[in-house]
Symmetry: C2
Subunit: 426 residues, 2 copies
């Protein structure tokens, strides 16, 4: 922990954090898997031992948030209890079980001259995580970056700063117990926005990528101001297209699950597009199933002709991520019209086609430019864990480096190892 | 070709080029391999048919460059003749033979719930190439981007603008003949620096990555000002470490080849590090072989003790990319000292260990943080063609997305296709 905060400006402090992270990253880059796993186990033990400290810090945080009149949903996300802290410790242990990506051979081939070439995973370097009011991110992000051999700089929101500090202290105890540098997981000890600005400018080349975890305004600021690469998605404006060859019961099940299983996640359905040939047969059944579970339907004129209790959809509804029990619904002429709508309003996150027609599915999955394109499955599967990738630090919609769920493999780079026996180039 | 140049400001012009590129990119993204290959063949034919136009344009360029007093090496790089134009046409045909990366399955796996997940290559989008005085880059870069389904915006140097325009006109004829949009390969028709500035700012989100091809000052400007990702290397400060277990004759052959085969390429050797245990046995032989071929040796005190006709090395020599018949040489204590030297002075491009000790080779290849790390082979193999990757657009030293040779595969992104049979998430 830096204990010299008061003596420095924020800029000096952040520059030093960057230098320390880079130095720790060099050590982590060649740390064996067993040592990183030992640290993760020690971190879990230290979190369990720190339950009283973490709860005490969290109580102060919650009191301050309550006094500041924060919304109930915000308070809930920030609140810890013994059960949630145990879940944090278990999540650390789960990361032990993931395969260490560093050093794994992604591809290998031989050249006619006898050279053997291997493409081998390496750490990315130093990762900055900027997050809001979810103390568990402190441990989750720290552990995932560590597993991939990266140093991490955590900058949590001021609302839960005491909870984050208590968790972070436990993580550093775990690192030290395993003989790894404490600077592998640093937390920015100040909460002014200048520190975020320094991170967005890349800490003099000592920060390689930034992952924002939080609301739209945070992601927007990071994406527009960052001078280093960003792994993020601004929103998940998720579509399902019910094709003319879609099975009715399957459509009801998948649409209801995609919209209502959890409405607040980025893979939740936001706009339903229905082929006009099945609008009369499928739409009323789907809509009723949703309405029965308290979902508001906002439809275009054709939806309102076919179904009852439909709120008229405005132009804004096609580009609104509700994250709530509301669904925008539109009847479309055909597959092309559905794909045009998605190209215009989508967020390149997750989209889905329901159809028994393999050719239609193939076209949709090839032509829709989203990180995740599903066929006959719930959009709520848009998740690193559900993909079998283990824990994820977020979902990215950019096209550079990481796209879709960002797990431990996506937090790596690579190098080429060339094995020769004396070859020179003619 | 845009014929409205005079009516617009550079900013308006560049914004329009960006929008056109994005629209063309959408079409290219789903263009079948056969159509892209047909375009490449038509482009080669059109280049051959345009030899008189290209030569006429090139003659004007060379006259202007000569009148401006450009250096001979610069003139040579810019000069075209029938043979060089034929090489350009053949290079276009060579790209036909490369496998189309778009749609290829990078990984596929099944989940316990029956979901099948595929990670599939997609184009990156729109690529900007900023280059200097090598007219062949017009065709090479255009063709490579096209093969990977990307639209490209070419901004060549003013010195060879007429040569570039003549080649570019042939490329667009080839695109049109194959039924692909001419905007797939656009050339910036103005030569003011404001156009480059617009590209560096990303053309309102219509430019996804920039590849600079040219001298250090160009790459430096692009790397420091670009708001979009850059695939580049600033320099190739390439090291060879002759370990104590290095074979003498192999060391001589590989060092001489690495330094002198071609001194002007980024994989050429610049600094030689020799283990002190073999300094007396190996160094004089290696140095004499280099000196016999006219290579100047700049050595530290220990090198000067052991060898004759050594220029004293200054601190600057350890960080100088000569691209010439000059080599910096230093005696080091051991493998760790060699790796420390490389970490301090290297450029993360290409480094090499010569040794018969597999454990030493393993450590070097694991711990040296460079895009390409060789064992017992010439550093001049640092090249996409030599790697078997086909044509390359350059070599990247960053850790994001592309690293090492940037070939057609590195110019792609990916998406996840999820194939279900009705699965909903519990």
């Amino acid at each position: 922990m830096l204990d010299v905060v008061d003596a420095k400006t924020t800029g000096e402090l952040m520059a030093e954090i960057g230098r320390r992270a880079r130095a720790a990253g060099r050590i982590l880059a060649t740390a064996p898997a067993e040592r990183k796993n030992a640290a993760l186990r020690e971190m879990a033990a230290a979190v369990r031992a720190a339950v009283p400290d973490i709860l005490a810090g969290n109580r102060q945080d919650i009191d301050t948030m309550t006094a500041n009149g924060q919304a109930a949903s915000f308070l809930d996300r920030g609140t810890l209890n013994a059960e949630r802290i145990e879940a944090i410790a278990r999540a650390l242990e789960d990361i032990v079980a993931l395969e260490d990506p560093v050093g794994s051979v992604m591809a290998a081939w031989d050249r006619p001259n006898g050279l053997r070439i291997e493409r081998v995973r390496t750490p990315l370097g130093v990762i900055g995580v900027i997050y809001e009011s979810r103390p568990n991110v402190t441990a989750d992000a720290g552990a995932l970056c560590l597993k991939a051999g990266n140093a991490v700089i955590l900058r949590g929101g001021s609302d839960t700063i005491r909870s984050n500090r208590a968790i972070h202290a436990a993580l550093q105890k775990g690192l030290a117990a395993a003989g790894l540098p404490e600077d592998a997981i640093q937390m920015v000890p100040v909460t002014d926005r200048a520190a975020v600005g320094d991170m967005l400018r890349g800490l003099d080349g000592n920060l390689d990528v930034i992952v924002p975890r939080g609301g739209r305004s945070l992601v927007e600021r990071v994406q527009s101001e960052a001078r280093v690469p960003v792994f993020a998605h601004l929103e998940g404006l998720v579509h399902i297209f019910v094709d003319k060859a879609a099975d009715l019961q399957q459509s009801v099940d998948i649409v209801v699950n995609s919209k209502l299983r959890r409405t607040g996640i980025c893979g939740a359905l936001e706009t339903l597009l229905v082929h006009e040939d099945v609008a009369h047969s499928h739409l009323p059944v789907i809509v009723r199933a949703l309405q029965d579970q308290g979902c508001e339907i906002r439809g275009d004129a054709r939806v309102r002709d076919i179904c009852e209790n439909i709120v008229p959809a405005s132009e804004d509804d096609w580009s609104t991520e509700y994250l709530d029990r509301i669904l925008a619904v539109k009847v479309v002429r055909d597959l092309d019209a559905a794909m045009d709508h998605i190209a215009r309003y989508g967020s390149s996150h997750t989209d889905c086609i329901l159809t028994g027609d393999q050719a239609a599915a193939d076209r949709f999955q090839r032509e829709v430019d989203s990180a995740i394109v599903l066929h006959n499955a719930s959009t709520q599967f848009a998740d690193g864990g559900e993909f079998g990738m283990g824990a994820e630090i977020g979902i990215a919609t950019g096209r550079m480096h990481a796209r879709g769920p960002v797990g431990v493999e996506q937090l790596t780079s690579f190098k080429y190892k060339v094995h020769g026996t004396g070859q020179t180039r003619p």
